[in-house]
Symmetry: C2
Subunit: 199 residues, 2 copies
DNA sequence: GTCTATATCCAGATAGAC
DNA sequence: GTCTATCTGGATATAGAC
């Protein structure tokens, strides 16, 4: 039936619209300081309508954190596919990530959301599970690449996982830095950071 | 009068005790997820008694964030005093900071508090002012040292402030990393990070 | 100084009209 | 599907007894 299909499309669109506003609010203020009213107002709908689309505020949050973690992991998987030698993978990864930090609000929001969720014990249990489940993969993948590069003698000798920790904490730190000083901030050149890992 | 003095001492002790518990709670859960009841319970006192010592939850928070920022700045000032050549200052600073991250909960809590406050727009105005007022000093100081080291040819050529950004975002990232995985996590060796700045 | 009891408010969630 | 009105719980903050 035509109407049913159309209704479903509207429903999906509304859901996306609510999620999009919720992402912004959560990224800027966190789970507890964000009020359902804020999200509704930003989306230009009545406060009660949110509950036509989501069971609770927590539900929205969980879905958003899940998306954020998935997005990050997906990016890491893509890195895995690229046909490059290990040290070149690290180099391009850093270049791309820093470029994304400078240009895209989306990625920064993802970082902020994950940082907040990771840094707070007062998040829903579902969120905690998602984090313990999905948080480690990026570290593992980068560690693998580091180890491979060490075999080729192009990556500095050190515990690969520690290098991965350094990799992600730097990237993450820079993303948060950028997020908290909107406007003209200069992100360090990718070559600086690359130097940290290459022989 | 003996009684008055004693009362004042008790008053100060209670205040410190409340602040100490509040720091823990805020560091773990943030301003909005932390309830006055939580703090009171952790301190082993009645919920209402908090208001005998502080005007509001926000007031406690502001005082704590102020202390955290001051503590960081104080550490930076101490670095300034040390009689060392620039590249050695950077080296010792990294060593000391990483050592502190590994051993002291205090410093990590400070990092968490500042990170949360910096990363959220939903904090009290007083807190915002404190941050804009005190946040930049550590970056400036490290940038100065970097510039001095460049004069001597011991620090890598790059914008000094960008190097400072890299310095603090790395340290901060590692502190948060450690905070969120309590237990056996290995922080990268200081030499790795030092390598990033020295020629 | 400390506690218990309570006023007040606000936000999440529901009910029901359109 | 959307809105307005409302219920309800919980949290901040205050009042008053001890």
């Amino acid at each position: 039936m035509r109407n049913q299909k159309q209704n479903e499309r509207i429903r999906e669109e509304r859901k996306e619209q609510i999620l999009a506003e919720a992402v912004k609010q959560f990224a800027h203020k966190g789970l507890f300081a964000t009020k359902i009213k804020d999200i509704a107002e930003a989306a230009g709908i009545a406060q009660g309508l949110i509950y036509h689309y989501f069971k609770s505020k927590e539900d929205i949050y969980v879905e958003i954190i899940k998306d954020a973690l998935d997005k990050l992991n997906e990016a890491v998987y893509m890195l895995q596919e690229i046909q490059l030698r290990p040290h070149e993978k690290i180099k391009t990864a850093i270049e791309e990530l820093l470029k994304t930090i400078e240009s895209s609000d989306n990625f920064i929001q993802t970082c902020r959301l994950i940082a907040q969720a990771t840094n707070s014990t007062a998040i829903p249990d579902k969120t905690k599970e998602l984090i313990t489940e999905k948080q480690d993969l990026p570290y593992q993948e980068i560690a693998k690449i580091m180890a491979a590069g060490q075999q080729e003698g192009t990556i500095i000798k050190a515990d690969p996982y520690e290098l991965a920790v350094l990799f992600w904490t730097s990237i993450n730190g820079l993303a948060i830095y950028k997020a908290t000083r909107q406007g003209a901030v200069s992100i360090p050149d990718a070559r600086l950071l690359t130097r940290l890992f290459l022989t």
